[in-house]
Symmetry: C2
Subunit: 211 residues, 2 copies
DNA sequence: TGACACATACATTCGTGTATGTATATATCA
DNA sequence: TGATATATACATACACGAATGTATGTGTCA
């Protein structure tokens, strides 16, 4: 009962505080992904999360640190899933990769937060000023993913699933571009793109031609 | 002689005025493409163009109108070239399209202004607030280009250069995604991507599999 | 009773838009 | 053709709101 009639200004327990932190991050994700990072003020984030700027400045040093936290959360939830999916040895690596890409894309249809996070980091962030530290981090992530992809393709080639004269570097870049292109075109107008229907077809079209 | 010792504050002739207008637009293109539209102030643009904000407000109503002018210039110089290239009937439409894409991409290697303009409009603009009018314009451009692409592929299919059972819509989307992906990945770090070498190979890889 | 988790209040800066100043190009007229 | 008036192409100055960061207040959990 005491829980039910809590007054507004009651001091929060630790889990309450964590929840407000999450609310702030979710509000930031929402606003950043639609308005862009620069164009979003801390007041807007506060309003959208039903707190004041005071709460934001308690949990974060400034907007940049919010961005950093989002980047961290993204890195945890997202990349890791793809990674561990790809690392398991599969008899048909190309089929697996196609399936992973397909699943990654179709999963965005229902997961709004993931979609927003991707929109934010793929389309709405320009790493300038205080954000310039992220360039190195982003680049590191990218090369890491590319290395994984490369190993993967080499494995496929050794198994005879790719022509022996295929240029792995070109293939790698090609896949990277294609996937990013699909992602960005989908994310730029999700309502205009039936990703559940299109993703498998688009992936099929691409991967079927590689063998 | 009078020309040589012109004082700073001499009033400009009409062509001088047009030149300062161009300077402002070029400065805006440079800053917008690196810092993003929102993060760039009119003062920065003015400094970068060696004028004051007074000059900017003389030529343009506000930042949005600068963006509009850039969009217009882009539309003139850029889309048109691709269009008229594709409209001429060619015996091998797919080869032609591959060549057009390849040329478009490699041309960016030397044309900094074109590169910046593309960077700006593909990666650094979020159409919100006053800029929301551009969404419709952008969408119209896109559907127009897509229609052209579709006609093109249908022509190729009728000539027997594409399998009769190819899904033109998927193909269309696929090409669109691929090209945009290559563009964005190149533009996001041009120094890390030898476009002159890569573009033909990437296009070859993609188009060779269609037939 | 102190540290915590905020809300509130304040100072400062930055960007914008507008108002005004000003020197000259250009049009007009004698 | 030259003198004058006017519009042009800016530069400068000012006023305003928005956003930021910080300082301080406040109630409660532990």
């Amino acid at each position: 009962m005491c829980q039910a009639n809590r007054r507004e200004n009651m001091r929060k327990t630790k889990e309450d505080a964590l929840k407000t932190r999450e609310n702030i991050l979710n509000a930031a994700t929402d606003l950043f992904s639609t308005k862009g990072v620069e164009a979003t003020s801390l007041l807007e984030i506060a309003n959208h999360a039903d707190v004041t700027r005071g709460a934001i400045y308690w949990h974060f040093k400034n907007k940049c640190e919010i961005f950093e936290a989002l980047h961290e959360r993204m890195h945890q939830n997202f990349i890791q899933i793809v990674m561990e999916d790809l690392e398991t040895d599969h008899p048909q690596p190309l089929k697996q990769m196609e399936a992973v890409c397909s699943r990654l894309l179709t999963s965005l249809n229902d997961d709004i937060l993931k979609r927003q996070a991707l929109t934010l980091f793929l389309m709405k962030c320009n790493y300038i000023g205080e954000f310039s530290d992220f360039v190195a981090k982003q680049k590191q992530c990218k090369t890491q993913a590319m290395m994984l992809l490369k190993q993967y393709l080499e494995r496929a080639q050794k198994k005879g699933l790719l022509p022996a004269d295929s240029d792995i570097d070109i293939l790698m870049t090609s896949i990277n571009c294609y996937l990013k292109g699909v992602l960005i075109i989908y994310l730029s107008d999700p309502d205009d793109f039936d990703i559940k229907d299109m993703a498998p077809k688009l992936m099929r079209l691409f991967f079927s031609k590689l063998a």
